[in-house]
Symmetry: C2
Subunit: 236 residues, 2 copies
């Protein structure tokens, strides 16, 4: 199941064992095993993990901060359904941050870093080949995170991690093509540029890669997912 709980929530807390639940739920959501909009009742999750609602609540709160779940007062927790506006903003933010990060990574990448990236690529390729789309989007996200880590920017790495998580949700919601999740050749070209220490190439490749990703999803203006069903049925 692609153990992803090695560094806890994003290095934030490490407190207690609710991080386990956090990681599990996060994996499930990102891998699209739980559909956006799904209700996440506290006691149900508590029963699944054999823990109290207290821990479930802590995990849900952390996920809410990552915007992967939406907490509605006295209603419950739901898997987030990013609006198209939010989707556009996520990619705009990535377009601002990630090219710079890629350039920084290219500037200081060591051979060992490149090896790590290529290993990521291999895993991703295998996941795509095996048809495990859920794992593929997660590995793609981890690839982008990996670049940020090479850049040595822990804070920007956090931002990239957050944005990639949300991107995974967005792609699962609005994807038009099935191969939307990071075509491998784009990633390969990126690694080559970084390995060659060419900052400009890395920056531009990242930009075009993000444009590619964005072109693969439908962000045309329309009623957001917040619209009530009644309004939709009324044909408003």
């Amino acid at each position: 199941m692609l153990k992803a709980n090695e560094d806890r929530t994003s290095g934030v807390v490490t407190s207690g064992r609710w991080g386990q639940i956090y990681d599990d739920l996060k994996s499930a959501i990102l891998a699209h095993n739980i559909a956006p909009g799904t209700k996440l009742p506290e006691d149900e999750l508590g029963e699944v993990y054999s823990v109290s609602r207290t821990l479930v609540r802590a995990a849900l709160q952390a996920l809410a901060h990552d915007r992967l779940v939406q907490l509605e007062p006295n209603r419950g927790a739901f898997v987030a359904k990013p609006s198209k506006r939010e989707a556009r903003e996520v990619f705009e933010a990535r377009a601002i941050i990630e090219p710079k990060v890629a350039a920084m990574a290219a500037a200081i990448a060591k051979p060992s870093d490149i090896k790590v990236l290529r290993r990521h690529l291999d895993e991703e390729h295998k996941a795509i080949h095996d048809g495990r789309q859920g794992d593929a989007v997660m590995l793609s996200a981890r690839f982008h995170e990996g670049i940020a880590e090479i850049a040595g920017q822990t804070i920007l790495t956090e931002f990239v991690r957050s944005l990639c998580s949300r991107s995974a949700l967005i792609i699962s919601l609005y994807s038009r093509r099935t191969d939307t999740f990071c075509e491998s050749h784009a990633h390969h070209a990126l690694v080559d540029a970084i390995a060659a220490n060419s900052e400009l190439d890395a920056s531009e490749l990242m930009t075009s890669h993000l444009v590619d990703l964005l072109s693969g999803i439908d962000v045309s203006e329309s009623a957001g997912p917040q619209r009530k069903l009644s309004e939709i049925l009324r044909g408003v």
Copy 2:
């Protein structure tokens, strides 16, 4: 006391009334009313706010996610003490994000937006004049947030908000000059550029403003603040 709890934690949750505690503590930390490294015992806070430890824990967890407090397992919560490395990274991140945001804001700023910014400036000026440094840094942060809001980028606004919060902590820790918090003239020039819809000027002014801020703090390499008191006293 500068009511800041109008939009809750960063629009994240709005759940329950622990947001009140969150906002209060955040204000106190950013205004430097609580020194970095200070322990924040749960039941003490619970007594102060006449509330159960449950809510205090929720607030502390949210603050931990913002990196304003550090949660140590079985130890407790402490006001964060960003290392110099973290300090540098925060400003590097700001240098990447904020100029772009300023340019976007300049591109689409309406007269009403400018009025809001100028009102921020007035409050900030008054706070500085009155010697209320704590409020000044908070208002400075809100000014930067305001620019991001004008840019219409809610996600980047969140990032800027987070970075500005941490900057406030950093400045209070490593400031050399006392006037470090955003000299007003820099902010005025920024507003002028945005009002004139000149994206390039806004971007460059923001960059130089951030460089200015960074030059005002001491980020020279040295042992981080994680050093034990014993090591310091030993003169290591």
